[in-house]
Subunit: 663 residues, 3 copies
């Protein structure tokens, strides 16, 4: 059971040393526990090869530690210095257009570069040796946001060579690769691994197994890069937690896999920064312009908490307008506090604000902070004071296992990206939309990966598990959980083949479904589904022609095969032959919860309720006060009923009332 | 007089040899006559230079032939093997961005590469020697879809050198080139052919004659590539028909020219695959989502039939959803049969379905087939059974020469692409829209090229003949046909100059028109034309200021020069000073048909009627039953009156009734 | 005091020499005074290195001069010949994608190439020596449209080396650069100037000071290139005016700086060519489709007149449809004359039509001219005859200094381009919109640059002066003028840092404002401002949270900090905390004019009135007759009251009536 810890990201190198002591004192005074430093300091520490300037950083750590702060140290590998790039220009990442992406900002390295891997280990070792046992250094962050600026997939010569070796390891013989890839198609057989190119230059669509393997290889390189630094830190800095800051809406590498090597999974939370570029409707973007989508924080915290085996920190929390989105609105006053407590409710152990003081120069000048660039407190500082007060009012609590789990499978997302069939297939968005539909009904959720322990849930949801193996199916079958399975699930083998008995492949027995044909519809020709006795609801995009001997609980309304099955239900699984969104999704989710015996309470678009142990949190993302659900006995610790706009209410005790059961 | 022959595209290399015999038997049982094979087999036949593995293909042919099928053999040059690319990377095509387009899919060769030409001839010779006199091999397809994936225009070093030599042949002296291109403009004179670059890299628009010559050169390279293989096959495989499969909506090379070397012009028909990416309105795309545009099959079959001197085959017929469009809807049940008979009505001698069995791996897994990947029959197999029954009910018939011809000139399309003036000028789309407007009125059509025999027509239509020579004009004049001439026709000489006496150049005498100025209007500022006594109809885009001494039968309604002539009529020619579409187009076409004494019957957007000899075919592209035109004596052979949705009716005898004459 | 002079752009090299004499005679007969020649003649004059063919050009000049025309000679450096590019391919400009932009059109040179600079000087010297003292050559144009086709920013190796040397000159030491750029950010410090790359290749946003310096460097190279030719012409062609033709809507180099070296600032005026690609609304584009935006001519003539210290010529005037816009409509009949007199009213000394006769070949065939390509007179020739008549009716007049000046700062525009924060920030468009809002109220305007003499104005307007120095602020303070200052002004130092006391930096004292936070809003979430007692008006995009002790005359209506200050007023300055457009802009401008004691008359969207000395000009951009403002005593010299559509009225005398004072 733990209380919320608070921290801040600090760049002392950007400020005059005379200011460091005051900064440290002010951080402590404001209630901060942690300070993260040194992310982008390689060139400052080692201005030329082998010449190290540690003094200033020694001093920073001493000052911060002496002031009472715990230091999260970073390895500086997200921004190698210019002299290293000049020595080894082959370190640079290469875009899909074949052009090297140069020095001048950050993340200018290719994960496939063994030269860079060695250099990254060398500098990480230097940092680890220097500070690994420093009493104030209590945790480490490795690198920064691995997939930022689309650098996970790089098409360098190193990647080409590395991919060939990786394929050799995977397949053993070129004949095995030819068979698995199906290179009899379009006469693309290889006689040697050294003939294989990267999948970015072909005249038209490359072989899909080729593409999927390149995703896997690239993901493995991220894991290898991360693990190499983990090993160094474990050796030189025993007892310190190791983390990395994952991003929102990021699926380019297998986060489950990388997380297995970390003690804490970090998350960089930018609810407004990620809003306008998202796939929400214009109406939703307008509604949530100054709050962010209500399930942004929950989705990522739940996902990364699950990956972190319960240990998840927000390593960067948006404090006001950011500088990097297409438009950068201000959060409503109160939202920084609301997001912070939402993170906590969804399992965060700590929240660190990005950043201490707004920069006066260089790229991120417009990114707000706790303090303005002139040192005056900005809105986030005001809200931090309230957060510190709130914290005092709350007993420690630990998030419990949920009744419902969502399966998140990165390879399935890559697979649908490679062979969409439906251009604009919502892919990972499906998972986020299903999450939101469940959260609007007050359901607490865990995430699982294809390798996770699946036991103990009442309902397991596979929104988009395109690659669902026989093994996964067998483990699902053993759980006794009800299943909700989205269209396309099980439609490809791990080798990206069509299953011998057609989709849903390994899920055939559980669902009792056989997919005879798939098609996709444009938005200009929407069709409808009638679920049970509901009115028809529109859908578009992916549609399947299926056959089943089980119950048909929803059917298509269409000029094409009108009345054919759209939603089927076997004893164990509800299967969807299209991708529901909006109203149709909500109706299906409600029906499935009822079928699974999970309680549901309709909270509407702006109220969210989450449990952390004995504590219940309500969050109001709207501009009007909203009442809490009736009939619950509550000991309110923070806030009130109704919940004020952009405000929170926290209480102890009280089960959801019986009369709010789903139905 | 011929009946419809049926066939299928088959990739035996993608299936276990144990399945070949059953496949062959099942094909015969289903009524198929032809099987096309071996398109993408180079790497399988010759896995390394000079080592040939013919055994499996020998066996396949033997099995298919023994089963009673006629084999269409393919040369495998659309997909050279990796070892050849590694030996000669200069074979690769180069995009307009200067980057080579690599191995990993198909069509990774540059038409300008003499190295590849020699290799293609070498392998074609090997195939031709091996199978040229095989009794089961009854026809050949060369390569596959020449212009697929935009590979006709390639900007390689080979193209640069080849273009220079081609220019030297064309112009003889660099002075002649300078004069023809007009290189005094922007001081771009050349002193040697070796100074000339490809037109893809200039700072702004390159010289238009330079660009047009590059189109011509590139088209000549396609013709040369095709002819080289034709010559080989003629030598080694006497008596077999030779074909190539042209694509829909393709204008990148001169199909007239390539067709002169073929015995049969092939066409790959994907009515739904080509719908959503077309220029139809959203409303039309919705209406025809599951049928394809009603004139898709007719347009291409008429065009390629004319190019094939009456010999045209559908070499690939869409059997269900394809996998390569932005969205891939299912055809309405019945459409595969409808498309098949539409092809026949428009002159096809054979229709071959693409493909036998849906692939289990590689790029085209989502492309449907006659059979699903598990071998179960898909919808197209059901419809094939009906087609075979239909066929038995129909006597042989040969398509007659039409009364109306449309002039299709590839160079004019290139010219308008190079100097659009009106960004978004509909260009080739004009021809398709005029075709459709005529077909809605039941008019059967031929196509002619600028070199064709133009005699024997009552009406010849030049929708967009930007380059109309004096010679063409003289030959048109001699025909006595009425003429309908679209805006912009004759506005450039073959050298891409403005004609000395302005547009319409060579067509001036026939039309009696002089074009004083051209302009183009954006969609946000549409204007109108009043034709005869009709209500005004909107148009946009291209508009001309013309003068004439002849009859003005339509005028502009505009704030600019209101009342100026929009449609004029000399004794021989109706000339349009804008590009009519929609209602305005329909009104003009109806008026011109009446003027030309051609009968017209309004069939509406969903019914099409076509004649093939004594047989009349009606096709219902809509979802309601539609009555046939009244007053015709009919002996119905297939179907009924009214025609059922997505169904056909075929009858013998009966002229269109008198009271349906245009007017 | 001067009358309007008239001229034409002529390309004798494109026509048979037998036509030259007739052309010259016809030009004189039509009333033309000037003829501009030889812009693109390098390759014709020097077809190979060192071999010169002057004869034909000698003859052209002799013919033109003898006929009575004054010749404006051009240096031919906008189009180097092919042989020079083949000798020195490093001359070619390089795009942001790193690819050289090749020969085949024009402007295929990089401003950073010292090789090209030397060659340009060599050929300019040859031209200057040959014709510098020719009695008919009365003026020179250098090169052609420096920033056309985006060639000012070039990413060549020459640019890389040149930029490094330029930085060395600017900063002296690499430490100074590191400090100014703030390279402690993202660890991007340099140890040598030779490590610095161009800002086009980094993984994500490059350092903003780096980018700004590259703009400055590139602008300096244009100035250096221009000045080098100026020096040559001054030496060899004494007494002749030297000019260059600036373009519309062009901000890529500092036009103030380049103008200081010219005698006359030229402008190429394409009111319709520049309309559809502009940022006007669709409704405005429709309204002005055949007239161009009413303030297009005024804005550019006022701007370039100010830069030319009163000497401004239109060197190319659109005569009819152009060929290079996305759509190319015809101007309404009368507009060529209207544009010509609008140029004169806004200070032009001469207007030259582009071009004499429409080209018969090459790139610009669709560009109209005074004559059609067959030599017949086109509409512009008809209007020219009227212009010549008009001219005879008007006494000479000189444009007076205005009461209101707008500050135009190119560096501020670059700065907002580099760090937009608000993607789609209207940037330079703000200046054009504010200009138009003032002109709709009949206010005559001057432009000033940051270095200009600011004295003598009643009102100085800073629509977007992101970089406003302390020095500028001090000079503004001394003027006693009222100030209108747009949002974002003063928000960055010249080094692209945030000012120590936050925005508006140097303008803090004048405005009494401190900007606490900025944000930006998407169009889907517009907010409103209430100004004084007006109804709320919408705005979107940039918004500031400010504090002030001065008067708040407008406030925000918003769910975020409702009522916070939007428009403030100190004794000297009105400051805006957002970017007003449309109605809000008009209301603010009217209020500020009243506050500044400047008279304003509402002229509506289609009428414009401008003063040139004692002459008043009214221009009707609409299709209905419009009345002149009441109560003015007028001696009408041309036209009538009301002003006819697309027509002008010119009168002497008459102050704006008292009852039209602003209010």
């Amino acid at each position: 059971m733990s209380s919320l810890e608070l921290g801040v990201c600090y760049y002392p190198e950007q400020w005059d040393p005379s200011q460091w002591r005051d900064d440290a004192a002010q951080m402590v005074e404001m209630g901060l526990d942690w300070v993260r430093i040194a992310e982008f300091t390689w060139g400052l520490i080692e201005p030329e090869r082998g010449r190290f300037q540690w003094g200033w950083l020694d001093e920073v750590i001493e000052i911060l530690g002496q002031a009472g702060l715990r230091v999260m140290m970073s390895t500086p590998t997200a921004a190698p210095p210019k002299w290293l790039i000049d020595e080894h220009p082959e370190i640079l990442p290469v875009g899909p257009d074949g052009r090297a992406r140069g020095f001048g900002s950050r993340r200018h390295y290719c994960f496939s570069s063994d030269v860079y891997l060695a250099e990254a280990c060398r500098i990480a070792t230097e940092y680890a040796r220097r500070y690994g046992q420093n009493p104030y250094v209590c945790a480490w962050q490795i690198d920064n946001e691995y997939n930022d600026h689309d650098t996970v997939l790089s098409y360098s010569e190193a990647a080409r060579q590395g991919f060939r070796r990786w394929l050799e390891d995977r397949y053993g013989s070129i004949d095995a690769l030819n068979k698995t890839w199906g290179t009899v198609f379009w006469s693309s057989a290889y006689s040697s691994f050294d003939q294989i190119e990267l999948p970015n230059g072909s005249v038209t669509t490359p072989n899909p197994t080729h593409s999927l393997d390149f995703f896997r290889y690239s993901s493995d390189r991220v894991q290898l890069f991360n693990r190499a630094q983990v090993d160094i830190l474990r050796k030189h800095s025993p007892g310190r937690d190791i983390t990395h800051n994952f991003m929102a809406g990021s699926f380019e590498f297998d986060h489950h896999a990388v997380a297995t090597d970390l003690d804490i999974v970090g998350f960089d939370s930018y609810p407004l920064g990620n809003l306008l570029g998202s796939t929400l409707s214009d109406q939703e973007k307008h509604r949530y312009l100054r709050t962010g989508a209500p399930d942004y924080q929950g989705f990522h915290c739940d996902l990364y908490r699950s990956q972190g085996r319960g240990r998840m920190w927000v390593l960067e929390q948006q404090p006001g307008p950011v500088d990097w989105a297409e438009k950068n609105p201000s959060p409503a006053d109160g939202m920084v506090r609301l997001w912070t407590w939402a993170a906590y409710a969804h399992g965060a152990q700590a929240v660190m604000f990005f950043r201490w003081r707004q920069a006066k120069f260089a790229q991120e000048q417009f990114h707000t902070a706790l303090l303005r660039s002139d040192g005056s407190p900005d809105q986030a500082a005001v809200e931090l004071a309230q957060i510190v007060k709130d914290r005092a009012a709350l007993p420690p609590a630990t998030r419990a296992k949920a009744k419902v789990a969502i399966l998140m499978d990165y390879a399935s997302i890559w697979a649908a990206d490679i062979l969409p069939h439906d251009d604009g297939f919502p892919n990972a968005q499906i998972i986020r939309e299903w999450y939101a539909a469940l959260r609007e009904l007050g359901v607490d959720l865990d995430f699982v990966g294809p390798e996770s322990d699946l036991n103990g849930y009442s309902l397991i949801i596979l929104p988009q598990s395109m690659i669902a193996t026989e093994d996964l199916a067998a483990r699902l079958e053993k759980t006794q959980a009800k299943l909700l399975i989205g269209a396309r699930s099980g439609s490809k083998t791990p080798d990206m083949h069509t299953p011998p008995k057609l989709a849903p492949g390994g899920l055939a027995d559980l669902t009792g479904v056989r997919v005879l044909r798939v098609e996709s519809l444009p938005d200009l020709a929407k069709e409808s589904v009638v679920l049970q006795k509901n009115a028809p609801c529109e859908f578009t995009g992916w549609r399947e022609v299926i056959e089943t001997d089980h119950q048909i609980i929803g059917h298509f309304v269409s000029k094409y095969r009108n009345g054919s099955p759209a939603v089927t239900r076997s004893p164990r699984a509800t299967y969807l032959a299209m991708v529901p969104r909006g109203d149709l999704l909500r109706k299906i989710v409600r029906d499935v919860l009822s079928w699974s015996g999970i309680e549901a309470v309709e909270h509407g678009p702006e109220l969210r309720i989450a449990q952390r142990g004995a504590l219940s949190f309500a969050f109001n993302f709207g501009d009007r006060a909203l009442h809490l659900p009736d009939g619950v006995q509550r000991q309110i610790l923070i806030g009130a009923d109704p919940v004020e706009p952009y405000d929170i209410t926290v209480w102890k005790g009280g089960e959801p009332p019986d009369n709010c059961a789903s139905g």
